[in-house]
């Protein structure tokens, strides 16, 4: 069966040696099919208080190509955001996710849009994986009307309620009890869905996390706590912040799984396992062993607390996009050129979105006073000089 598959893809790729005029037809021809493929994860899972799932992950060419495309898009988007920030088109905070893309795409592949995701401030890629558009990302980063929060949130406050993405939170650790609350509401509403509450190794020591975990375990909430361990809480390495950096074990009575977060298929397998577990047995912790290439934020070069060798080493050995590229090439699901073309296409998409976002206007001054309340009751609000600027809240 593998041989016939190879033959089919070979004939496909030969017809693609001609240059293509439309990106869309390129996608269609290497979009792959759903024929099952089994791949082993890079490393086995390590478990705490539970039996680890199998290393063999079921996938298919279509999924792998989608992983590649989506991660390439996210990578390109974050790098473009870096440039926009340096050009002063993005202000304030900007926390980039490049390196961690596999967590976002792997998680999304295991769940539906009825499951909830909540994360902290490193949220651009998670927003995109939940269905957010590039225009919404760049416009929000630049504080424009076309942004997902109409320019009023900024980098740390992306939301997409219609696909159950609840932000985007600036207070370290706060999103974990909030996520357990989403799980509570899902159980209360009998929706048979789960919530993934993402947090970093820095937030993993927050007291409120353990308070929320205790409540989740007592009440059997379908909450999955996902520690995106990129090994540095801002400038503080995990071994300097946590007496026990085995975050998947920190739940004590709550089971946990340690996952190679740079392997999208391992992430997918772990999330699938976690969803099944949470619906039956309550909370579980997933520790994603991942890495961020950028510093904590745009004001952090990221090289004062770690060596450049370490960063380039991870890029060489563990980059999530390269892993999928190698997988696709070794299974002959696409050629190198086809994958390069995808990357070119994705780059163009990002550039187009940025151009469009730059055209989007800044919010109207009247927007200062909108959405303070859902129901404003006609009360008055004031500007800096209340005798000069007043508004009635709708």
């Amino acid at each position: 069966m593998a041989l016939s598959h190879l033959a089919a893809s070979a004939s496909r790729s030969s017809s693609l040696l001609k240059p293509l005029s439309s990106g869309l037809s390129l996608r269609r021809s290497i979009s792959g099919d759903n024929s099952p493929l089994t791949v082993e994860t890079s490393v086995p899972f390590t478990s705490h208080q539970c039996e680890a799932p199998s290393r063999s992950v079921e996938t298919n060419p279509k999924e792998l190509l989608t992983f590649f495309r989506d991660m390439a898009l996210m990578r390109r988007m974050e790098i473009a955001a870096d440039s926009l920030y340096k050009a002063k088109l993005i202000r304030g905070f900007c926390h980039l996710y490049d390196g961690q893309e596999a967590v976002a795409v792997g998680m999304e592949a295991a769940i539906t849009k009825k499951d909830c995701i909540i994360t902290a401030y490193r949220d651009h890629c998670t927003f995109v994986s939940r269905g957010g558009t590039l225009l919404e990302v760049f416009a929000e980063l630049m504080g424009r009307q076309a942004g997902c929060s109409k320019g009023k949130g900024g980098s740390m406050h992306f939301y997409k309620k219609d696909s159950n993405f609840y932000g985007g939170h600036g207070i370290v650790g706060a999103q974990v009890p909030l996520g357990c609350g989403l799980a509570f509401a899902q159980k209360y509403s009998k929706d048979e869905t789960v919530t993934f509450a993402l947090y970093g190794d820095g937030a993993a020591n927050q007291g409120q996390l353990f308070e929320a975990l205790n409540i989740s375990a007592l009440w059997d909430l379908p909450a999955i706590l996902v520690c995106e361990n990129n090994h540095y809480g801002m400038g503080t390495a995990e071994w300097r912040a946590a007496k026990s950096p085995a975050y998947y074990k920190r739940g004590d009575y709550v089971p946990g799984l340690k996952v190679d977060g740079m392997d999208a298929l391992a992430v997918k397998q772990a999330c699938k396992f976690a969803k099944e577990h949470a619906l039956k047995n309550g909370p579980i912790i997933l520790e994603m062993d991942t890495y961020r290439y950028h510093g904590h934020s745009m004001s952090d070069p990221g090289s004062t607390y770690r060596t450049r060798d370490e960063i380039s080493g991870v890029r060489q050995e563990r980059d999530p996009i390269e892993r999928i590229r190698k997988l696709i090439l070794s299974h002959d699901l696409a050629t190198e050129k086809e994958l390069k073309d995808v990357e070119k296409e994705v780059r163009k998409e990002v550039d187009d979105a940025i151009a469009q976002a730059k055209e989007s206007p800044m919010p109207e001054p009247s927007e200062l006073f909108t959405n303070v309340y859902a129901k404003g009751l006609g009360v008055e609000s004031f500007g800096a000089d209340r005798k000069e600027v007043r508004a009635t809240l709708p």
Binding site: G167, G179, G181, A374
Partner: protein, 362 residues
Amino acid sequence: MLGIVRQKMLEQSLKKIPPAVSVLRSYSSAAKQMTIRDALNSALDEEMSADSKVFLMGEEVGEYQGAYKITKGLLDKYGPERVLDTPITEAGFTGVAVGAAYYGVKPVVEFMTFNFSMQAIDHIINSAAKTNYMSSGQISVPIVFRGPNGAAAGVGAQHSQCYAAWYASCPGLKVLAPYSSEDARGLLKAAIRDPDPVVFLENELLYGESFPVSDEVLDSSFCLPIGKAKIERKGKDVTIAAYSKMVGYALKAAETLEKDGIDAEVINLRSIRPLDRSMINASVRKTSRLVTVEEAFPQHGVGAEICASIVEESFAYLDAPVERIAGADVPMPYAANLERMAVPQVEDIVRAAKRTCYRSVS
């Protein structure tokens, strides 16, 4: 406006005035009486019955029947899925409640006292109050935070603070402070039905007090508007604005002032945020004098905000400086005599009102 003290006709001071609530209470009248406790309990019961999305969460709200028995009987009636006893972890359970509200269910969170809400204040402000704005209207937060606020009796410094000013300074929150049973029922129902986060400040010492309630108030559809104050006693010489327990004190002060020929208008604020600036200003434009009363610490308080509003909107109408009566600017002491000095008493309100009338205080 020119500082001229208006003289009262003796006959006016002898004229019969509408009885204050405390006077009414001493008559066994046909009007039904209801304690604040029952008012709150019945409001919770009716709103839970009307909307299956409403649920209660807090320490001892279930099996213990409520630390102050406000939630008595509700666990039996609605079951453990809708009346949830939490561990003593305010930050955790408040975050859980706010997250549930993001999803669209309607939590009513009880803080055993608002002193403990400080452990959860990040969730009240950053997770609840600001989210509708930051998400540009995508995520509203239909949550109520309720519990006793302010001074009780002999509970000491860590258990006696009033948080009205802190919460009311934050855009995105609504802050309510009921006084009577009508207030308790109407405002709690309004809070639960409101799609925004509401901080509902009760008072432990008022829980056992009875107030008359009409049939309209007892009806399950009864609701009071948020953002509107109430004139508890009409008057024309001085406005006394207060909230919660201090409304009762203001009414007693008005009775005393009446004997001295000063006709006080008592405003029950009901809503600290939004503050009913137009009613307070309208009253002061009529009386030309204002005394604000609160049990809370004085600096940066509700009285200060009201005073600023009057100075901004009705300066020309003032015949005297605005007077502020507030809790003493010290942590609450335990000894009974010191505690008495640390909170306003009726005579403080009377004295301040007389000062605005340029009467000598005797």
